[in-house]
Protein backbone atom coordinates (compact mmCIF):
# COMPACT_ATOMS: atom_id res chain seq x y z
CA UNK A 1 0.00 0.00 0.00
CA UNK A 2 1.48 3.32 -0.93
CA UNK A 3 -0.02 6.33 0.76
CA UNK A 4 -3.04 6.32 2.96
CA UNK A 5 -5.62 5.80 0.24
CA UNK A 6 -5.56 2.95 -2.20
CA UNK A 7 -6.27 5.15 -5.17
CA UNK A 8 -6.71 2.36 -7.67
CA UNK A 9 -9.32 0.61 -5.53
CA UNK A 10 -11.04 3.92 -4.91
CA UNK A 11 -11.07 4.71 -8.62
CA UNK A 12 -12.51 1.31 -9.45
CA UNK A 13 -15.25 1.76 -6.89
CA UNK A 14 -16.16 5.18 -8.27
CA UNK A 15 -16.19 4.14 -11.92
CA UNK A 16 -17.98 0.82 -11.42
CA UNK A 17 -20.30 2.46 -8.91
CA UNK A 18 -21.31 5.10 -11.42
CA UNK A 19 -21.78 2.53 -14.19
CA UNK A 20 -23.84 0.11 -12.14
CA UNK A 21 -25.29 2.25 -9.36
CA UNK A 22 -26.52 4.94 -11.75
CA UNK A 23 -26.91 2.76 -14.83
CA UNK A 24 -29.33 0.25 -13.34
CA UNK A 25 -31.92 2.84 -12.25
CA UNK A 26 -31.54 4.52 -15.65
CA UNK A 27 -32.14 1.23 -17.46
CA UNK A 28 -35.13 0.57 -15.25
CA UNK A 29 -36.52 4.00 -16.08
CA UNK A 30 -35.86 3.45 -19.77
CA UNK A 31 -37.68 0.11 -19.65
CA UNK A 32 -40.68 1.73 -18.00
CA UNK A 33 -40.65 4.50 -20.56
CA UNK A 34 -40.59 1.99 -23.42
CA UNK A 35 -43.46 0.01 -21.97
CA UNK A 36 -45.67 2.86 -20.88
CA UNK A 37 -44.82 5.49 -23.47
CA UNK A 38 -45.02 9.18 -22.77
CA UNK A 39 -48.27 10.97 -22.27
CA UNK A 40 -49.44 13.79 -24.50
CA UNK A 41 -48.32 16.40 -22.03
CA UNK A 42 -44.57 16.01 -21.84
CA UNK A 43 -44.32 19.33 -20.05
CA UNK A 44 -46.00 17.85 -17.00
CA UNK A 45 -44.54 19.17 -13.77
CA UNK A 46 -41.30 17.44 -13.02
CA UNK A 47 -42.27 16.77 -9.47
CA UNK A 48 -45.73 17.37 -8.12
CA UNK A 49 -44.80 17.58 -4.48
CA UNK A 50 -47.20 16.92 -1.67
CA UNK A 51 -50.19 15.18 -3.16
CA UNK A 52 -49.29 12.07 -5.11
CA UNK A 53 -52.50 11.69 -7.08
CA UNK A 54 -53.01 8.02 -7.58
CA UNK A 55 -55.74 5.85 -8.88
CA UNK A 56 -56.58 2.56 -7.31
CA UNK A 57 -56.72 -0.59 -9.37
CA UNK A 58 -54.53 -1.61 -12.28
CA UNK A 59 -52.84 1.06 -14.31
CA UNK A 60 -54.08 0.88 -17.87
CA UNK A 61 -51.50 1.57 -20.54
CA UNK A 62 -51.63 1.28 -24.29
CA UNK A 63 -50.10 -1.88 -25.69
CA UNK A 64 -46.53 -1.07 -26.73
CA UNK A 65 -45.20 -2.01 -30.15
CA UNK A 66 -43.13 -5.23 -30.35
CA UNK A 67 -39.91 -3.29 -30.80
CA UNK A 68 -40.52 -1.28 -27.66
CA UNK A 69 -41.48 -4.42 -25.79
CA UNK A 70 -38.24 -6.16 -26.77
CA UNK A 71 -36.26 -3.10 -25.76
CA UNK A 72 -38.02 -2.97 -22.40
CA UNK A 73 -37.43 -6.66 -21.82
CA UNK A 74 -33.73 -6.16 -22.53
CA UNK A 75 -33.64 -3.32 -20.00
CA UNK A 76 -35.47 -5.23 -17.28
CA UNK A 77 -33.49 -8.35 -18.07
CA UNK A 78 -30.23 -6.49 -17.49
CA UNK A 79 -31.55 -5.11 -14.20
CA UNK A 80 -32.61 -8.55 -12.98
CA UNK A 81 -29.29 -9.97 -14.12
CA UNK A 82 -27.40 -7.36 -12.14
CA UNK A 83 -29.41 -8.16 -9.00
CA UNK A 84 -28.70 -11.85 -9.58
CA UNK A 85 -24.99 -11.11 -9.90
CA UNK A 86 -25.16 -9.22 -6.61
CA UNK A 87 -26.76 -12.23 -4.92
CA UNK A 88 -24.15 -14.62 -6.31
CA UNK A 89 -21.43 -12.26 -5.12
CA UNK A 90 -22.86 -12.20 -1.60
CA UNK A 91 -23.34 -15.95 -1.48
CA UNK A 92 -19.81 -16.56 -2.72
CA UNK A 93 -18.48 -14.71 0.30
CA UNK A 94 -16.70 -12.11 -1.79
CA UNK A 95 -17.47 -9.45 0.78
CA UNK A 96 -15.07 -8.40 3.46
Amino acid sequence: MNGLIEWSALGQVVVAGLLIGAGIPALFALGLRLVAGTSETPEAPERSSGTPRETKGPVVIARPSPARLVGALLCFGTVVGAVGAGLVFLAAGGHS
Binding site: M1, L4, I5, E6, A9, L10, Q12, V13, V14, A16, G17, L18, I20, G21, A22, G23, I24, P25, A26, F28, A29, L30, L32, R33, V35, A36, G37, T38, S39, T41, P42, A44, E46, R47, S48, S49, P52, R53, E54, T55, V59, I61, V79, V83, G86, L87, F89, L90, A91, A92, G93, G94, H95, S96
Partner: protein, 426 residues
Protein backbone atom coordinates in the same frame (compact mmCIF):
# COMPACT_ATOMS: atom_id res chain seq x y z
CA UNK B 1 -8.83 -15.46 38.11
CA UNK B 2 -10.44 -18.80 38.85
CA UNK B 3 -12.09 -20.97 36.21
CA UNK B 4 -15.58 -20.08 37.47
CA UNK B 5 -15.14 -16.34 37.15
CA UNK B 6 -13.43 -16.89 33.81
CA UNK B 7 -16.53 -18.69 32.58
CA UNK B 8 -18.81 -15.99 33.98
CA UNK B 9 -16.72 -13.34 32.24
CA UNK B 10 -17.02 -15.26 28.98
CA UNK B 11 -20.79 -15.45 29.39
CA UNK B 12 -20.95 -11.68 30.00
CA UNK B 13 -18.88 -10.98 26.88
CA UNK B 14 -21.06 -13.25 24.75
CA UNK B 15 -24.24 -11.66 26.09
CA UNK B 16 -22.84 -8.18 25.45
CA UNK B 17 -21.75 -9.14 21.95
CA UNK B 18 -25.27 -10.35 21.20
CA UNK B 19 -26.63 -7.11 22.64
CA UNK B 20 -24.34 -5.20 20.28
CA UNK B 21 -25.54 -7.39 17.43
CA UNK B 22 -29.10 -6.45 18.39
CA UNK B 23 -28.37 -2.71 18.43
CA UNK B 24 -26.59 -3.14 15.10
CA UNK B 25 -29.70 -4.56 13.44
CA UNK B 26 -31.86 -2.06 15.25
CA UNK B 27 -29.72 0.88 14.20
CA UNK B 28 -29.34 -0.11 10.56
CA UNK B 29 -32.88 -1.04 9.54
CA UNK B 30 -33.22 2.44 8.12
CA UNK B 31 -30.29 2.04 5.75
CA UNK B 32 -32.25 -0.43 3.71
CA UNK B 33 -35.86 0.30 4.44
CA UNK B 34 -36.24 4.02 5.22
CA UNK B 35 -36.91 5.03 1.62
CA UNK B 36 -39.39 2.21 0.98
CA UNK B 37 -41.26 3.21 4.12
CA UNK B 38 -41.21 6.91 3.26
CA UNK B 39 -42.61 6.39 -0.25
CA UNK B 40 -45.13 3.85 1.08
CA UNK B 41 -43.79 1.20 -1.26
CA UNK B 42 -44.12 -1.07 1.76
CA UNK B 43 -46.15 -0.72 4.92
CA UNK B 44 -43.80 0.07 7.81
CA UNK B 45 -44.37 -3.23 9.61
CA UNK B 46 -44.01 -5.22 6.39
CA UNK B 47 -40.79 -3.39 5.54
CA UNK B 48 -39.10 -4.17 8.85
CA UNK B 49 -40.30 -7.77 8.69
CA UNK B 50 -38.88 -8.18 5.19
CA UNK B 51 -35.63 -6.58 6.24
CA UNK B 52 -35.43 -8.81 9.33
CA UNK B 53 -35.98 -11.97 7.32
CA UNK B 54 -33.38 -10.93 4.76
CA UNK B 55 -30.88 -10.00 7.46
CA UNK B 56 -31.38 -13.42 9.00
CA UNK B 57 -30.99 -15.10 5.61
CA UNK B 58 -27.95 -12.97 4.88
CA UNK B 59 -26.25 -14.17 8.04
CA UNK B 60 -26.51 -17.75 6.78
CA UNK B 61 -25.84 -16.93 3.16
CA UNK B 62 -22.12 -16.90 3.41
CA UNK B 63 -20.02 -18.44 6.14
CA UNK B 64 -16.69 -17.19 4.97
CA UNK B 65 -14.27 -16.78 7.86
CA UNK B 66 -15.84 -14.32 10.21
CA UNK B 67 -14.17 -10.92 10.20
CA UNK B 68 -11.55 -10.46 12.86
CA UNK B 69 -12.38 -7.54 15.09
CA UNK B 70 -10.42 -4.36 14.57
CA UNK B 71 -7.78 -6.16 12.51
CA UNK B 72 -5.01 -3.80 11.47
CA UNK B 73 -6.34 -1.10 13.80
CA UNK B 74 -5.03 -2.23 17.17
CA UNK B 75 -2.15 -4.37 18.28
CA UNK B 76 -3.50 -7.92 18.34
CA UNK B 77 -1.53 -8.60 21.52
CA UNK B 78 -3.47 -5.90 23.39
CA UNK B 79 -6.80 -7.66 22.91
CA UNK B 80 -8.16 -9.42 25.98
CA UNK B 81 -11.66 -10.35 27.08
CA UNK B 82 -11.85 -7.22 29.24
CA UNK B 83 -10.79 -5.01 26.33
CA UNK B 84 -13.34 -6.57 23.99
CA UNK B 85 -16.03 -6.24 26.63
CA UNK B 86 -15.30 -2.56 27.27
CA UNK B 87 -15.21 -1.90 23.53
CA UNK B 88 -18.59 -3.56 23.06
CA UNK B 89 -20.09 -1.45 25.84
CA UNK B 90 -18.75 1.68 24.15
CA UNK B 91 -20.30 0.63 20.84
CA UNK B 92 -23.68 -0.17 22.39
CA UNK B 93 -23.89 3.07 24.36
CA UNK B 94 -23.07 5.16 21.28
CA UNK B 95 -25.54 3.21 19.14
CA UNK B 96 -28.30 3.80 21.67
CA UNK B 97 -27.49 7.48 22.08
CA UNK B 98 -27.48 8.17 18.36
CA UNK B 99 -30.70 6.20 18.07
CA UNK B 100 -32.26 8.42 20.72
CA UNK B 101 -31.24 11.45 18.67
CA UNK B 102 -32.47 9.77 15.50
CA UNK B 103 -29.05 10.03 13.88
CA UNK B 104 -27.80 7.23 11.67
CA UNK B 105 -24.18 6.48 12.47
CA UNK B 106 -22.02 3.55 11.60
CA UNK B 107 -22.36 0.64 14.03
CA UNK B 108 -19.03 -0.79 13.04
CA UNK B 109 -17.35 2.57 13.66
CA UNK B 110 -18.92 2.64 17.11
CA UNK B 111 -17.50 -0.80 17.83
CA UNK B 112 -14.08 0.10 16.44
CA UNK B 113 -14.10 3.31 18.48
CA UNK B 114 -15.02 1.45 21.65
CA UNK B 115 -12.26 -1.11 21.14
CA UNK B 116 -9.67 1.58 20.34
CA UNK B 117 -10.66 3.43 23.50
CA UNK B 118 -10.34 0.38 25.67
CA UNK B 119 -7.02 -0.57 24.06
CA UNK B 120 -5.78 2.96 24.76
CA UNK B 121 -6.77 2.55 28.39
CA UNK B 122 -5.22 -0.91 28.58
CA UNK B 123 -2.00 -0.58 26.59
CA UNK B 124 -1.52 3.13 25.95
CA UNK B 125 -1.02 4.80 22.59
CA UNK B 126 1.40 2.11 21.46
CA UNK B 127 -1.46 -0.38 21.26
CA UNK B 128 -3.20 1.50 18.46
CA UNK B 129 -2.03 1.41 14.85
CA UNK B 130 -2.87 5.01 13.97
CA UNK B 131 -2.08 4.85 10.27
CA UNK B 132 -4.47 1.88 10.02
CA UNK B 133 -7.16 3.88 11.82
CA UNK B 134 -6.65 6.79 9.47
CA UNK B 135 -6.63 4.82 6.21
CA UNK B 136 -9.17 2.15 7.09
CA UNK B 137 -11.67 4.08 9.19
CA UNK B 138 -11.40 7.85 9.01
CA UNK B 139 -10.71 8.46 5.31
CA UNK B 140 -13.29 5.92 4.08
CA UNK B 141 -15.81 7.61 6.37
CA UNK B 142 -15.16 10.90 4.57
CA UNK B 143 -15.12 9.34 1.09
CA UNK B 144 -18.14 7.04 1.40
CA UNK B 145 -20.82 9.73 1.48
CA UNK B 146 -19.10 11.67 -1.32
CA UNK B 147 -19.02 8.63 -3.60
CA UNK B 148 -22.59 7.68 -2.71
CA UNK B 149 -23.88 11.22 -3.24
CA UNK B 150 -22.23 11.28 -6.65
CA UNK B 151 -23.55 7.92 -7.79
CA UNK B 152 -27.06 8.45 -6.46
CA UNK B 153 -27.38 11.97 -7.84
CA UNK B 154 -26.30 10.86 -11.33
CA UNK B 155 -28.72 7.93 -11.13
CA UNK B 156 -31.58 10.10 -9.92
CA UNK B 157 -30.92 12.70 -12.56
CA UNK B 158 -30.96 10.09 -15.33
CA UNK B 159 -34.14 8.56 -13.95
CA UNK B 160 -35.82 11.96 -13.74
CA UNK B 161 -34.86 12.69 -17.34
CA UNK B 162 -35.99 9.33 -18.67
CA UNK B 163 -39.31 9.29 -16.87
CA UNK B 164 -40.21 12.81 -17.90
CA UNK B 165 -43.62 12.70 -19.51
CA UNK B 166 -44.36 9.16 -18.38
CA UNK B 167 -47.58 9.05 -16.40
CA UNK B 168 -47.02 9.27 -12.68
CA UNK B 169 -49.17 6.23 -11.96
CA UNK B 170 -46.82 4.11 -14.03
CA UNK B 171 -43.61 5.47 -12.55
CA UNK B 172 -44.69 5.26 -8.93
CA UNK B 173 -45.96 1.69 -9.35
CA UNK B 174 -42.96 0.53 -11.32
CA UNK B 175 -40.37 2.18 -9.15
CA UNK B 176 -41.92 0.83 -5.98
CA UNK B 177 -41.13 -2.65 -7.24
CA UNK B 178 -37.63 -1.54 -8.08
CA UNK B 179 -37.33 0.01 -4.66
CA UNK B 180 -38.35 -3.13 -2.82
CA UNK B 181 -35.89 -5.17 -4.87
CA UNK B 182 -32.93 -2.89 -4.32
CA UNK B 183 -33.72 -2.38 -0.63
CA UNK B 184 -33.85 -6.14 -0.20
CA UNK B 185 -30.39 -6.46 -1.64
CA UNK B 186 -29.10 -3.87 0.85
CA UNK B 187 -30.71 -5.79 3.73
CA UNK B 188 -29.17 -9.04 2.59
CA UNK B 189 -25.73 -7.45 2.26
CA UNK B 190 -26.08 -5.98 5.74
CA UNK B 191 -26.94 -9.36 7.22
CA UNK B 192 -23.96 -11.02 5.57
CA UNK B 193 -21.49 -8.32 6.56
CA UNK B 194 -22.53 -7.23 10.00
CA UNK B 195 -23.72 -10.47 11.58
CA UNK B 196 -20.26 -11.80 10.73
CA UNK B 197 -18.69 -9.09 12.86
CA UNK B 198 -20.55 -10.23 15.97
CA UNK B 199 -19.78 -13.85 15.14
CA UNK B 200 -16.13 -12.90 14.89
CA UNK B 201 -16.18 -11.23 18.30
CA UNK B 202 -17.84 -14.20 20.00
CA UNK B 203 -15.47 -16.63 18.31
CA UNK B 204 -12.53 -14.53 19.45
CA UNK B 205 -13.86 -14.51 23.01
CA UNK B 206 -14.37 -18.28 22.95
CA UNK B 207 -10.85 -18.84 21.67
CA UNK B 208 -9.32 -16.42 24.17
CA UNK B 209 -11.09 -18.18 27.01
CA UNK B 210 -10.00 -21.56 25.69
CA UNK B 211 -13.56 -22.77 25.24
CA UNK B 212 -12.87 -23.80 21.66
CA UNK B 213 -9.55 -24.59 19.92
CA UNK B 214 -7.76 -21.71 18.20
CA UNK B 215 -8.46 -23.00 14.69
CA UNK B 216 -12.14 -23.61 15.36
CA UNK B 217 -14.74 -22.46 12.88
CA UNK B 218 -17.76 -20.52 14.10
CA UNK B 219 -19.95 -22.84 16.21
CA UNK B 220 -23.47 -23.26 14.92
CA UNK B 221 -25.16 -21.81 18.02
CA UNK B 222 -23.14 -18.63 17.50
CA UNK B 223 -24.33 -18.30 13.91
CA UNK B 224 -27.95 -18.96 14.91
CA UNK B 225 -27.94 -16.54 17.83
CA UNK B 226 -26.16 -13.75 15.95
CA UNK B 227 -28.56 -14.09 13.02
CA UNK B 228 -31.51 -14.17 15.39
CA UNK B 229 -30.57 -11.14 17.46
CA UNK B 230 -29.72 -9.06 14.44
CA UNK B 231 -33.04 -9.98 12.85
CA UNK B 232 -34.87 -9.21 16.09
CA UNK B 233 -33.20 -5.80 16.29
CA UNK B 234 -34.05 -5.14 12.66
CA UNK B 235 -37.66 -6.12 13.20
CA UNK B 236 -38.11 -3.88 16.22
CA UNK B 237 -36.78 -1.20 13.95
CA UNK B 238 -34.96 1.97 14.90
CA UNK B 239 -37.97 4.03 13.93
CA UNK B 240 -36.30 7.28 14.92
CA UNK B 241 -33.49 6.66 12.46
CA UNK B 242 -35.85 5.41 9.76
CA UNK B 243 -37.75 8.65 10.16
CA UNK B 244 -34.66 10.81 9.82
CA UNK B 245 -33.44 8.93 6.76
CA UNK B 246 -36.81 8.65 5.06
CA UNK B 247 -38.37 11.99 5.91
CA UNK B 248 -35.71 14.21 7.43
CA UNK B 249 -33.03 14.48 4.77
CA UNK B 250 -35.04 14.68 1.56
CA UNK B 251 -38.69 14.53 0.65
CA UNK B 252 -38.39 11.39 -1.38
CA UNK B 253 -40.50 9.82 -4.12
CA UNK B 254 -40.30 6.26 -5.39
CA UNK B 255 -38.00 7.13 -8.30
CA UNK B 256 -35.51 8.73 -5.91
CA UNK B 257 -35.91 5.85 -3.49
CA UNK B 258 -35.12 3.28 -6.14
CA UNK B 259 -32.12 5.23 -7.41
CA UNK B 260 -30.83 5.71 -3.85
CA UNK B 261 -31.14 2.08 -2.81
CA UNK B 262 -29.62 0.81 -6.04
CA UNK B 263 -26.72 3.17 -5.58
CA UNK B 264 -26.31 1.94 -1.98
CA UNK B 265 -26.38 -1.71 -3.00
CA UNK B 266 -23.97 -1.15 -5.88
CA UNK B 267 -21.47 0.91 -3.89
CA UNK B 268 -21.54 -1.42 -0.89
CA UNK B 269 -21.05 -4.57 -2.93
CA UNK B 270 -18.48 -3.04 -5.27
CA UNK B 271 -16.47 -1.50 -2.45
CA UNK B 272 -16.11 -4.84 -0.71
CA UNK B 273 -15.33 -6.47 -4.05
CA UNK B 274 -12.47 -4.06 -4.69
CA UNK B 275 -11.23 -4.28 -1.13
CA UNK B 276 -12.11 -0.74 -0.18
CA UNK B 277 -14.73 -1.36 2.45
CA UNK B 278 -17.16 1.44 3.17
CA UNK B 279 -19.65 1.65 5.99
CA UNK B 280 -23.21 0.64 5.01
CA UNK B 281 -24.63 3.55 6.98
CA UNK B 282 -22.41 6.16 5.37
CA UNK B 283 -23.14 4.86 1.89
CA UNK B 284 -26.90 4.61 2.46
CA UNK B 285 -27.10 8.10 3.95
CA UNK B 286 -25.00 9.54 1.14
CA UNK B 287 -27.20 7.85 -1.45
CA UNK B 288 -30.36 9.32 0.01
CA UNK B 289 -28.75 12.77 0.06
CA UNK B 290 -27.65 12.23 -3.52
CA UNK B 291 -31.17 11.35 -4.60
CA UNK B 292 -32.17 14.79 -3.35
CA UNK B 293 -29.26 16.51 -5.05
CA UNK B 294 -29.93 14.85 -8.40
CA UNK B 295 -33.68 15.38 -8.50
CA UNK B 296 -34.56 18.70 -10.10
CA UNK B 297 -36.58 20.79 -7.69
CA UNK B 298 -36.08 18.55 -4.66
CA UNK B 299 -35.20 20.11 -1.34
CA UNK B 300 -32.35 18.75 0.74
CA UNK B 301 -32.24 19.62 4.45
CA UNK B 302 -28.55 20.27 4.80
CA UNK B 303 -29.00 21.12 8.46
CA UNK B 304 -30.06 17.56 9.20
CA UNK B 305 -27.19 16.27 7.07
CA UNK B 306 -24.78 18.48 9.01
CA UNK B 307 -25.94 17.08 12.36
CA UNK B 308 -25.45 13.62 10.96
CA UNK B 309 -21.96 14.43 9.79
CA UNK B 310 -21.14 15.79 13.25
CA UNK B 311 -22.36 12.53 14.78
CA UNK B 312 -20.11 10.59 12.44
CA UNK B 313 -17.16 12.69 13.47
CA UNK B 314 -17.96 12.10 17.13
CA UNK B 315 -18.50 8.35 16.77
CA UNK B 316 -14.90 7.25 17.22
CA UNK B 317 -13.94 9.58 20.10
CA UNK B 318 -17.24 9.21 21.94
CA UNK B 319 -17.41 5.44 21.76
CA UNK B 320 -13.70 5.45 22.55
CA UNK B 321 -14.19 7.48 25.72
CA UNK B 322 -16.95 5.16 26.89
CA UNK B 323 -14.77 2.15 26.08
CA UNK B 324 -11.81 3.64 27.95
CA UNK B 325 -13.89 4.56 30.99
CA UNK B 326 -15.36 1.06 31.08
CA UNK B 327 -11.96 -0.57 30.88
CA UNK B 328 -10.70 1.74 33.58
CA UNK B 329 -13.62 0.89 35.90
CA UNK B 330 -13.01 -2.81 35.27
CA UNK B 331 -9.32 -2.41 35.94
CA UNK B 332 -9.61 -0.33 39.11
CA UNK B 333 -12.20 -2.55 40.74
CA UNK B 334 -10.64 -5.61 39.24
CA UNK B 335 -11.75 -9.13 38.57
CA UNK B 336 -15.19 -10.33 37.75
CA UNK B 337 -16.87 -7.80 39.99
CA UNK B 338 -15.47 -4.91 37.94
CA UNK B 339 -16.79 -6.40 34.73
CA UNK B 340 -20.11 -7.10 36.36
CA UNK B 341 -20.36 -3.50 37.59
CA UNK B 342 -19.75 -2.20 34.05
CA UNK B 343 -22.38 -4.60 32.79
CA UNK B 344 -24.83 -3.29 35.38
CA UNK B 345 -23.99 0.28 34.35
CA UNK B 346 -24.63 -0.66 30.74
CA UNK B 347 -28.03 -2.11 31.59
CA UNK B 348 -28.87 1.01 33.63
CA UNK B 349 -27.79 3.35 30.86
CA UNK B 350 -29.75 1.41 28.28
CA UNK B 351 -32.90 1.54 30.37
CA UNK B 352 -32.39 5.28 30.98
CA UNK B 353 -32.04 5.91 27.25
CA UNK B 354 -35.11 3.83 26.57
CA UNK B 355 -37.08 5.78 29.18
CA UNK B 356 -35.88 9.03 27.62
CA UNK B 357 -37.04 7.79 24.22
CA UNK B 358 -40.55 7.26 25.55
CA UNK B 359 -40.91 10.98 26.13
CA UNK B 360 -41.26 11.44 22.40
CA UNK B 361 -41.86 8.00 20.96
CA UNK B 362 -41.45 7.33 17.26
CA UNK B 363 -42.86 4.07 15.95
CA UNK B 364 -44.47 2.53 12.90
CA UNK B 365 -47.59 4.66 13.34
CA UNK B 366 -45.96 8.09 13.17
CA UNK B 367 -42.76 7.33 11.28
CA UNK B 368 -44.06 9.04 8.13
CA UNK B 369 -45.43 12.21 9.71
CA UNK B 370 -44.45 15.48 8.12
CA UNK B 371 -40.94 16.47 9.11
CA UNK B 372 -40.86 19.58 11.21
CA UNK B 373 -37.31 20.84 11.43
CA UNK B 374 -37.91 22.62 14.73
CA UNK B 375 -39.39 19.47 16.24
CA UNK B 376 -36.62 17.35 14.85
CA UNK B 377 -34.08 19.64 16.43
CA UNK B 378 -35.82 19.54 19.77
CA UNK B 379 -35.31 15.82 20.00
CA UNK B 380 -31.68 16.61 20.71
CA UNK B 381 -32.26 18.07 24.15
CA UNK B 382 -34.15 15.08 25.49
CA UNK B 383 -31.00 13.25 26.57
CA UNK B 384 -31.11 14.43 30.15
CA UNK B 385 -31.50 11.17 32.02
CA UNK B 386 -28.57 8.99 31.01
CA UNK B 387 -26.15 7.52 33.50
CA UNK B 388 -22.57 8.59 33.99
CA UNK B 389 -21.01 6.24 31.46
CA UNK B 390 -21.70 8.33 28.40
CA UNK B 391 -19.66 11.48 27.94
CA UNK B 392 -21.29 13.03 24.86
CA UNK B 393 -24.61 13.82 26.49
CA UNK B 394 -23.02 16.19 28.98
CA UNK B 395 -23.63 19.16 26.69
CA UNK B 396 -27.39 18.93 26.40
CA UNK B 397 -27.76 18.10 30.10
CA UNK B 398 -25.89 21.20 31.15
CA UNK B 399 -27.86 23.24 28.67
CA UNK B 400 -31.15 22.02 30.05
CA UNK B 401 -30.13 22.55 33.66
CA UNK B 402 -28.97 26.04 32.80
CA UNK B 403 -32.26 26.73 31.11
CA UNK B 404 -34.30 25.60 34.09
CA UNK B 405 -32.02 27.51 36.45
CA UNK B 406 -32.35 30.63 34.37
CA UNK B 407 -36.13 30.66 34.16
CA UNK B 408 -36.88 31.66 37.78
CA UNK B 409 -34.15 34.27 37.66
CA UNK B 410 -35.65 35.83 34.57
CA UNK B 411 -39.16 35.74 35.91
CA UNK B 412 -38.02 37.14 39.28
CA UNK B 413 -36.29 40.08 37.65
CA UNK B 414 -39.21 40.83 35.41
CA UNK B 415 -40.62 44.11 36.64
CA UNK B 416 -44.32 44.60 37.21
CA UNK B 417 -46.89 44.12 39.92
CA UNK B 418 -48.37 40.70 39.18
CA UNK B 419 -44.92 39.08 39.14
CA UNK B 420 -45.74 37.25 42.35
CA UNK B 421 -48.72 35.58 40.77
CA UNK B 422 -46.37 34.09 38.19
CA UNK B 423 -44.37 32.53 41.00
CA UNK B 424 -47.48 31.12 42.53
CA UNK B 425 -48.30 29.27 39.36
CA UNK B 426 -45.02 27.41 39.37
Amino acid sequence: MGPVTETLLLVLVVVTALAFDFTNGFHDTGNAMATSIATRALKPKVAVLLSAVLNMAGAFLSLAVAATIAKGLVDAGAISLEVVFAGLVGGIVWNLLTWLLGLPSSSSHALVGGVIGSVLAAAGTAGVLWSGVLSKVLLPALLAPVIAIGVASVGTFLVARLTRGVSQDVTSRGFRWGQVGSASLVSLAHGTNDAQKSMGIILLALITAGAVPADSSVPFWVIISCAFFMALGTYLGGWRIIRTLGKGLVEIDSRQGMAAETSSAAVILLSSHFGFSLSTTHVATGSILGSGVGMPGAKVRWGVAGRMLAAWGLTLPAAGIVGAVCYWIQHVIGGFFGTFLVFALLVGTSIAIWVASRRKPVDHSNVNEEWDEAKGARLRTSVATTGEVGEPQVGPVVEERLASAMTPVISATTPGGPGTSGKGEQ
